[in-house]
Symmetry: C2
Subunit: 242 residues, 2 copies
């Protein structure tokens, strides 16, 4: 069923009105009066609606049923990825939204090949990818996609969660499953993954000093765009959200 996100305040009195790009989307989907769509308020509630009328500018919906949205994981996971080259960002955003990320933040570190002067310029496009993926996968929120800044900023974001995890390919590390088992009942977590060339040794040291758990994900070497999705899936599985 088609899914849209809307502020809860626009959903009162049993009527919802879709405007702007979403109204265009209703047209593209060729939805007709009488057909059902779901509107989510991004706050944990789904409104099952029926399309009353639609034109180029707006679509009017009648609210049929109000139900809790059960798609949100019990753990809010912030995925922090070193900025990769090219369109790997898009892939990371789409897959991490599907897999249940709460936030996806990119950052710059030592071995990042991509060094855009104004990464903030990409935020609009990134956020649209997250919105499309949230609609498609039936999420209860549109995960925020943001720019964390430099490496220290990224570590700072991570340590403000219950369980900051640092995915590292070499040296002394904990096994991800052992870390997860040692921390039951977490409300939030962070997953930090590196760029194409991996993290520099001093970055790993800094992460350890900052209190992150340096974790291995087995003996196979994952691409920089695969690692966040695999780590997030493992955390979702370990916390009963898969």
């Amino acid at each position: 069923m088609a899914r849209f996100f809307m502020a809860g305040s626009n959903l009162q009195g049993g009527v919802a009105v879709i405007r702007g790009r979403d109204a265009e989307h209703v047209r593209v989907l060729r939805l007709r009066p009488g057909e059902d769509v779901t509107v989510c308020d991004s706050q944990g509630t789904d409104y099952k609606c029926r399309l009353v009328r639609a034109d180029k500018e707006e679509a009017e919906l009648e609210v049929i049923e109000v139900v809790p949205c059960t798609a949100e994981p019990s753990v809010k996971v912030t995925v922090l990825c070193a900025l990769p080259k090219g369109d790997k960002t898009d892939y990371i955003i789409q897959k991490c939204v599907e897999a249940g990320a709460y936030r996806i933040l990119f950052f710059q570190c030592e071995r990042c090949v991509a060094r855009p002067e104004k990464p903030e310029k990409k935020l609009d496009r990134w956020q649209r990818i997250a919105e499309e993926a949230a609609k498609q996968s039936g999420r209860g929120i549109i995960p925020e996609v943001g720019w964390a800044g430099n490496y220290a900023d990224a570590l700072n974001e991570a340590v403000h969660t219950d369980l900051p995890l640092f995915m590292y390919e070499t040296g002394e590390r904990e096994k991800l499953n052992e870390v997860m088992e040692a921390h039951p009942g977490i409300q939030s977590a962070a997953i930090v993954t590196g760029p194409e060339g991996g993290f520099a040794e001093f970055e790993a040291k800094l992460a350890r000093i900052a209190g992150l758990h340096l974790c291995s994900m087995g003996e196979r070497i994952l691409r920089c765009e695969t690692a966040p999705v695999v780590a997030l899936t493992a955390v979702m599985y370990a916390t009963g959200n898969l």
Copy 2:
């Protein structure tokens, strides 16, 4: 370190000779005499080698050290995917090889949009993608990519493993983590995932009758190219291979 696969029989007497496309690859990587590469025999052994000489046709390597390859998971997972549209096959192959799949087989079912007349024609290209991903992720084997045939053929492949799992989005299902916990010590497993439009109801029924476990992966709806990677990661995590 660059990685190549070679039959163990070509690795005797302390010398290895790389020929054909792999020799070309040595040239592309601009490897020079004295540099180290790893040659894997696909049977669980890695040969740490040093490049002696290389030309367009072949590269000669001296074997320095013979070590067990630890990258292979303890569980052999066959990933069975309904044939998706376009280049999603490539994505599935690459990511599933990274995540530790033993075999990746595509099949045709009711709602497959892609209906190539000769799917076998794609096997060479698919296998090359698997080989590249195996080299890059440090696998101990090149996972086989194949064409399973029709839906019944796919089910037949699945039931010949210790734990055949059928990923389904609706109806009565078991939770994947409960199924995994109820089956410790498995040596093999199969993951069956559907096409863009999902499985037809009769296909799910047939899977249940055939003895597959119909499993949910949470409340979020995964794209057909995401589901196999997420399910495989969950199985790897659950069996201590992540």
